[in-house]
Amino acid sequence: NIFQRKQEARNPYLKLVNVDETTTDPRVWGTNWPRQFDSYSRTVDQTHTRYGGSDGPVPESRIERDPWLKRMFLGYAFSLDFRDRRGHAYMLYDQEQTERIAQRPQSGACLHCHSSVIPTYRRLGLEAVGKTLADAAGFDWPAVMRGFEITCQMTYTQAHAELYKTPDGGMGKPWAPSRLDAPPRETLSATQAALAAHVGNAHPVSCVDCHDPNNMELRITRPGFIQGIAALAASDKPLPHLPSIERWRQGSRSRPYDPNIDAFRQEMRSFACAQCHVEYYCSTKATLFYPWGNGLKAEEIEAFYDDYKFPDGTPFVDFKHAETGAPMLKAQHPEFELWSQGIHARSGVACADCHMPYTREGAMKVSDHWVRSPLLNIARACQPCHQVPETELAARVAVIQDRNHDLMQRAGKAIDALMTAIVSAKSAGIDDARLETARRLHRKAQWRLDFVNAENSMGFHAPQEAARLLAEAIDYARQGEIACRP
């Protein structure tokens, strides 16, 4: 009733138990912040929208759904297994389960975005200099950075073992699914079974990954993002949607841009997500990095890769295409990059505004930690800014997404035709010059199409920009086909 609500209004939260940098078990934090924990836990629920999320024990396969997509990745692990995403609770489990891990050796860097891995980085960093967790200076960035470097040298299996070794300061009981003695996912039936599985000390992204345990402020914990955003800030590319970078650029630049010092709170509401929802390089030839030194647009990133040389001096490439022999780039979930080109970013609308909208709990405004498709929660996610009926808002998104989806299928046909053309041209034995041209165009076309496909909003985050990229993908793909003809 109203009386009770007035009480609540006064003090937001009283700490019942202590949490620190080593507390990766979310349930411990849950005793202090039950509301956020409750919604956070809901990420084990499986949800589906027209294009978003996925339900059922196993997420649907994207490469089976779109054959041209599978063909695009021939010669690369993504042609083995590439599925729809689902709730945060599954991030570690789904990585452990993917055939990309099962059938291909992967780097320890993979864990950077799929687990509450920072304490493991810290521990390894300290151990490397003959210290222990006890010697940690708070968050201890030097140790974390060193540990990060170390895991990037490890195999996934080694790093994974280290992750499970690190104490989670918790209750040992499982809360999120994991491979360890869990039923194989074919038989796993959603939530309950998922929860039943044991996780030992490892957790998916947890409170400590986004919050400072002392004051609950948002903070950045991911080395990859710290380095990527600093490189972006150092570039000369205009970033009207990131005012704190523009501000830093005005300053002395005596030290690199640091989101934990420089970013505005509203920016942190996006950076927290941009720690992971970004394009990356994550394999064995170099330490995990985000390719932002030349800007966030698809072609700026492409240019960055074209100039990039691996430590061993060889030019950058993600894989050689099995059919065409072209040196390919692979795009992964560039949500932050595409959002950056859209009107919402430009208007200062953050990821959390839509994916973690405030819900009112009595007198308190609480961020919905059930991170999911905003289309499942249009009233909270959209109506604070758009006072139109929910059905109308859903329809507007549908128009944008369907347009993007159809255009993407058109681009899929084009890239498929290009691959076919190159294959037959090769067997017909065209001269190397033309073959090279065709391959160069394959790389350019696929990069753009993959960029839009790997991005998970089906164009919504920046509709015109996504359509532009698809248009260019089509142009290059068809030009490649032409190059194959006499």
Partner: protein
């Protein structure tokens, strides 16, 4: 009597609303505790007694109308008896909704109150806009002030 006022009367629950609002324990308790009585006054701070109105209150304090219009100037009919009918209905509806916590959030203005609002814009700005509103000002295709000025209040 204006379309808006008729709107309120025709609402089936309104016939009950006024007596209920006074009689029902729930109504009375809520109403008193939430300073529901002062709610019949004109001080915007009264509205802000409900945290749920805080956003609007904060916006209004910063807004262009802060000095010239109170909540009621925009949201309650200016003429007797419409003023008290509307307040009784809104007052009851408010308390009920607030106590039961069964309202749509974010709060969206309902057609009846939107019509009151439109009339109030015209109450003050009628002369200024009389050329552009030529013709009906209440029909569903009248020039809607909030189409462009949604942000004037808060």
């Amino acid at each position: 009597m204006s379309a808006a006022q008729r709107g309120f009367l025709l609402r089936p629950w309104l016939a009950l609303a006024v007596p209920l609002g006074a009689a029902l324990g729930l109504g009375v308790f809520t109403f008193r505790y939430a300073e529901g009585l002062s709610y019949l006054g004109n001080d915007p701070a009264d509205c802000a007694n409900c945290h749920i109105m805080n956003a609007q209150y904060d916006g209004w304090v910063k807004g262009p109308h802060h000095a010239v219009a109170t909540c009621n100037d925009c949201h309650v009919p200016h003429d007797f008896p419409g003023k008290y009918l509307s307040k009784a209905s809104n007052g009851f509806h408010h308390s009920k909704a607030f106590t039961l916590q069964n309202f749509h959030e974010p709060i969206l203005i309902k057609p009846g109150n939107a019509a009151v609002l439109q009339r109030n814009c015209l109450h003050c700005h009628g002369d200024f806009v009389h050329q552009i509103v030529a013709g009906s000002t209440t029909a569903d295709d009248a020039v809607s002030c909030v189409h462009c000025h949604r942000h004037v209040g808060h």
